[in-house]
Each structure stands twice: as structure tokens, then as C-alpha cells.
Homo-oligomer: 386 residues x 2
């Protein structure tokens, strides 16, 4: 636990610095909308977390010819610096040995310049390392953060730490993996990235003001860059609703698969599905109920999304002779002894339900068990680090 | 799966034989109440499953000097025949190298004589091996079965297979373990065995008749034998209610601990208990709700039992510096890759709730995950047996 406490300490100090700086910045309107000012030179983009998701969205930006990518990566640092990554995409074509302009192992090293965008593609673990702590000194180097990550409420800690920052949030529906020890990025035919500006904190008093304008401008520019790279993101005016919709899948299948160490074929196996169906649908219905209570309307997240999610999974996973067994990333993390995204996927929903006095018995049950598993993982890692 | 199918086949054939025999028996009232007839000679008792529970209750009978124990055991066969078992009980004293009169590895070997009682102390796995299948040819050798086992509805398959048999059912609250590779049975200060005659099937048309009388006589005689051995069981007129009461603990703590691979200290850890408490209480309240619906009144199972169960566990497990970590047997089974008593502890409650259209969202969720884990265990064992 010592390590975590230290990070928190460093983080708190940094946030203090950042807050002061941003409060000064925010009196200068030119700087507030400054995102469009440096158009002659290449945009500086730092991607933190260079797994499959980080790699493909960085590469698609790089293809615009108008950005310089700085990558911060841990596991694949050696591979990326020595060999680069071979891109194999049925949709965007192939590229041998692609390399970001700069590759670093730590956020400290990457914090040597200012950035137009910082794109976060790492796992969100607010219970272990809040996003501002993971970004470290980078939070002082940028005003626009793009979070392409899983879960509900994942923007909260960054938003609270830097109320004046623009946060663009994105949900990726994509089949992309790194294989051959990080040397190959393999992408199938799906790529739907739904992005939107995350609403500013009410306390900034800026819901319709400068922050919103700056956010829209930053998102439009990012969209343009991706388009020049051959990829078109889907822009939404309500990214919060989209996150809740995507979380239906995770709240039902990631939790059940993880508690049971099962793959999706096993969940959909004929005699198992009879037992699992009411649980999966029940978990999703609880998510929809909480979403309604925080103002996500039937129009934004239709109740029929539950049925569609079940049927979508059923089409993919009811015949084990077709396709390979699929385990959600939460399950893979557990089996590898790595912390899981329990908070973003379940904890944040349970927390909101509690605040609103909504009964979520199924989510509460999976959350309790997953949280105990998470504690076990953290304890084991902290013991082995000693 | 082949092995299981074969057992089912053998079992079906045996049940046919047993049924015919018992139907003939039941026209003879002397034989029906014959339990008290052979009082001159020693009572023949066969104990199937010679773990800690089987060992202590067999030993306490043996101490009466009026029974001959036949033990059927797997894991500890060699140890029991070669060394016997050293009894260390703070309550009943010690005994070196106690041995049952006869020790066998299989039910087939033990089926060479008739018994006054067959006491079942093995794990109940109705989804894998129904009790009549485990007992095999022994079911033809006895009219009185004593089930000292966990769970709800565990009498069902035996009762259905032999409607004319007397079933005595018992819930053990006891701290006993086999240690030193089965050579020592260590017993602490607790021993409460609540026993009662399980109600005959309505279809036998004998709820208040011969079966009930024979059951009461058999239970009284068994009680006397144990008393002569220095132990007094608690007799109840409603063992079904007692089973539901005992299942509160298992439905809450065994399930949660198993899904999380946690011990009770971890469940009660201060920051974890906040999350676990509503789940544990919620699971128990669901059990009480189903119990009510099947006619177990507030008097038989007071709602306050939930609070008492929580407080009992809290007293034992809120201070990890006191005592050793405790994992429920279901958790131990999972970690050892052995099938778990999911059906008796959760499945049977969920099934009854479904029949009565009662919502049990928490039990349903734990059941789905545990059942998937159970399938995983069975699959792995069947693969490794090939």
C-alpha cells in the first residue's frame, strides 16, 4: 500500500500546481480557445497506454500527416522502440514497423513538451491510481484530454482535479489485438468510436460557456485529423448516455464471466443460458434503471438495448464451433492477477444507485464479490513487491 | 460424462429393486416398526463418508457400546485401517487409535449385511451423483437413513427413490476437523446436532401413519445410543425449518466467500464489510422470504435470525488477530477443484423461488456464477479422467 500512498501524495501536490495555473489561464480568452492557434505546425499528441486501442487510434491520427505522436508505454516499450509495430488491418490496410515519433516508458519523460491532446488508453483504476496520478506531470502539459476507456464516470477524477480542462470521452467498439509479443497489431472489420465532449462540472459555472466551446472546437479538430487518417469517429452530443449504453454489456457479461472464470460460449451454453439469462438481463435492467434516474431518457438509452445486447451476444456466442472462445478483459485481468476495472464497470453504477436510493441487488452482489477479488489481487501484488 | 451416466443407470436399476422390496415390506406392520426388535444384539450402523463429521458421530455412537460401526471411506481408508484415528475432543475426551468395527473403501463391500441405520455424511451433489447413486447397493440393506449433511432439499432424491424409507435428517453445528493426514480428529467445544424425522412424501399417504411412527421410534433409539455415548442431540419436530435456518449462513457467506475466494476475515474487513453487509443480509432475507412462502412461519424461523447470523459471524471474524482465517467448505472445494454443494445451498432455494414466482435476484446471481464454476470443475475432472 505504501506505493499507492506515495502516488496519491505526488498527485495531490501536482493537482495543486495545475489548479493554480489553470485559474490564471482561464482569464485569457485567446488561450482558452487556443486549440486552433498552432495550426501551421504539427499537432502534438501524447498517447498514454499503448495497448491495442492506444496503438490503432494513434496510428490512425499519425496517418493524417499532421500530428506527432508521443507514446508512453510499459510492456511494449522494448518491442516498439526496437521493431516498431506491424499493422494488419482488414479495414485500413497494412503497414510494416510503424513507430510513433517518440516513445517513452514513463509519463515523466514525456512531460518535456506541451501537447495539444493527451489521449488516455490505459485501464481505469480509480480505486488504485486515479487518472491524474497516472498522467502525473503530463496534466500540466495539456488542456485537452481524450479518454478512450471503459466504464461509467471514468472522467470524474480528472475532471475534479482539473475543472478547467476539456475532456473528450470516447467508447470504442473495435476488434483489435496486439499479438506476437506486441509486434503485430491485428484489426478485424469493426471500428466504431463514439466520442463527445464530456460535460463540464456544474461548479465551473461554464456549462454553456468557454469550456463547452473549446471542447467542441477540440473535438472537431480531432475528428478532422482522424478523417485525414482515413477514419471517421462517430460524434455524439451525449457521451454520458453512450457510456451507459456500452456498460450494459460489461455490467452483465464481464461481471458474470469474471466471477465464473468463464468465456462467453460457456455463458451461452444451452443448459447454462437458462440460468444465466435472467441474471444477465436483470443486471442490464438495473443499469438502465439507474441511467433513467440520472436523466438518461428512453430516447438516449432505449430499454430495448437490453434485448439487443443479449441477442447480439447470442448471435456471436451460442455456437462454440464458430469462432474462438472470448473472455472479457476483466476476466483476463483477474486470471493474470492484474487489477480489474471494477469501479468503472460496476462500482460507479452501484454508487450512483445508492445515492439515489435505487435497489440494484444483482449489481451489488457482483460488486461485493468482484471488490473482494480486487482486494485479493492488490494484496498479492503489494506482498510480492515487498 | 460417461461415468455419471453409468452411475445413473445402475442407480435406476437398483431403485427398481428397492421399490419392489419395500412395497412388500410395507404390508407387514411388525417389519414396519421392526426397528426396536433386534435389541438383544448390537445395532448395525453403516456410516458413508468418513470425514470429520462422519468420524465424530460414528465414534460417539460407538462409545455407547451397543453398536457396530461399518465405515465406508475413500481418502482416509489406508490411514483408518493402518493407524486408526486419534480422537482429541475438549468435550468428550481423547482416545488413541480408534477404529470402527469394519472399514471399507466402497459401498459394494459394505453391502454384505443389513443395517439398522445408514448414516450419510458425504457431500451432497444431486447435480452429479444423487444420494441413492452414492449409496448404491446399500439402499437395499436398510430402512432408516440418517442424513447429516448441508443444504436444503437434500433428502429429496433419496425420498423419491425409496418413498417407504424412514429419513432422519440432521444439521450439525460443530467445530471438528481431521488433521495430520486424517490421523487426528480434533474437536473444539461446539457440538449441536439438530435432528428430526424428515416428513414422508405426501404421495405415500402416510404423513401421520406407520412411516411417521417408525421414524419417531428410530430417532428415539438413535438418540438413546448417542446419549449412552455421552452426546445428546437436539430433537426437533421440524427439521425442514432448521435446515432453512442453517442455510442462512451458507447462502450468504459460503457463496460470497467462494465467488471471491475469500475467507471470513476478508469479508468482515472494515472497508469491505460496508459493501458486503447489504449483500449478505440481502441473500439471507431472500432465503427467509422463500421459507415463508413454503410455510415456514416466523415462529419456526424468525426474521431476526438474519441479524443474529450476521452478528454471530461478526463476533467471530471482525478481528483477524483473533483466530485463524476460516474458509467455508464450498470455497475449499472450489480451490481444490472439487465439486461444490451448490445445489443444496443455493440451487434448491432458487428452484423453489422460481416455482413460487418469488424474486431472489441476489441468490439467482450467485447461483448463476457458482453453477458456471461447477461446470468448469466437472469439465476439468472429466477431461483429466479420460
Amino acid at each position: 500500500m505504501l506505493r499507492i500512498l506515495q502516488i496519491h501524495h505526488v498527485y495531490t501536490m501536482q493537482v495543486g500546481v495545475v489548479r493554480s495555473r489553470l485559474q490564471v489561464d482561464s482569464v485569457d480568452p485567446a488561450l482558452d480557445l487556443g486549440i486552433t492557434m498552432a495550426s501551421e505546425s504539427k499537432k502534438k499528441v501524447c498517447v498514454v497506454g499503448f495497448g491495442a486501442i492506444g496503438t490503432i487510434y494513434a496510428w490512425l491520427l499519425d496517418r493524417s500527416g499532421e500530428v506527432e505522436i508521443t507514446a508512453v508505454c510499459r510492456s511494449n516499450y522494448a518491442s516498439l522502440t526496437e521493431h516498431g509495430v506491424d499493422i494488419e488491418s482488414s479495414q485500413y490496410g497494412d503497414e510494416k514497423a510503424w513507430r510513433p515519433k517518440r516513445v517513452f516508458q514513463t509519463v515523466q519523460e514525456a512531460a518535456d513538451i506541451d501537447y495539444d491532446y493527451i489521449i488516455a488508453c490505459f485501464k481505469t483504476l480509480p480505486d488504485l491510481e486515479p487518472t491524474p496520478a497516472v498522467l502525473g506531470p503530463l496534466v500540466q502539459r495539456c488542456q485537452t484530454f481524450v479518454l478512450i476507456q471503459n466504464g461509467i464516470g471514468i472522467e470524474r477524477d480528472l475532471q475534479e482535479a482539473i475543472p478547467q480542462a476539456t475532456i473528450i470521452s470516447g467508447c470504442a467498439w473495435i476488434d483489435v489485438t496486439l499479438v506476437d509479443n506486441y509486434r503485430i497489431m491485428r484489426h478485424g472489420g469493426i471500428n466504431r468510436l463514439v466520442t463527445g465532449v464530456h460535460p463540464p462540472l456544474p461548479s465551473t459555472g461554464d456549462a454553456q460557456g468557454n469550456l463547452r466551446l473549446r471542447g467542441d472546437a477540440a473535438l472537431r479538430q480531432l475528428e478532422e485529423l482522424w478523417k485525414k487518417g482515413g477514419f471517421e469517429p462517430t460524434i455524439t452530443s451525449n457521451i454520458v448516455a453512450e457510456r451507459w449504453r456500452k456498460n450494459l454489456w460489461n455490467a452483465a457479461f464481464s461481471t458474470l464471466a469474471t466471477l465464473a472464470r468463464a468465456d462467453l460460449f460457456q455463458i451461452y451454453a444451452k443448459d447454462a443460458w437458462e440460468i444465466n439469462r435472467p441474471v444477465a438481463e436483470g443486471l442490464m435492467n438495473e443499469v438502465v434503471t439507474v441511467a433513467r434516474a440520472i436523466g438518461i431518457t428512453e430516447e438516449l438509452l432505449p430499454s430495448s438495448a437490453v434485448k439487443h445486447t443479449v441477442e447480439f451476444a447470442q448471435a456471436a456466442y451460442s455456437d462454440p464451433t464458430k469462432g474462438k472462445p472470448f473472455k472479457p478483459s476483466m476476466t483476463v485481468d483477474l486470471e493474470a492477477g492484474r487489477p480489474m476495472e471494477v469501479e468503472g464497470i460496476v462500482g460507479s453504477v452501484v454508487k450512483q444507485a445508492k445515492e439515489l436510493s435505487i435497489a440494484v441487488p444483482r449489481l451489488e452482489t457482483t460488486y461485493a464479490a468482484l471488490k473482494l477479488l480486487q482486494r485479493g489481487i492488490i494484496e498479492k501484488r503489494s506482498n510480492s513487491a515487498r
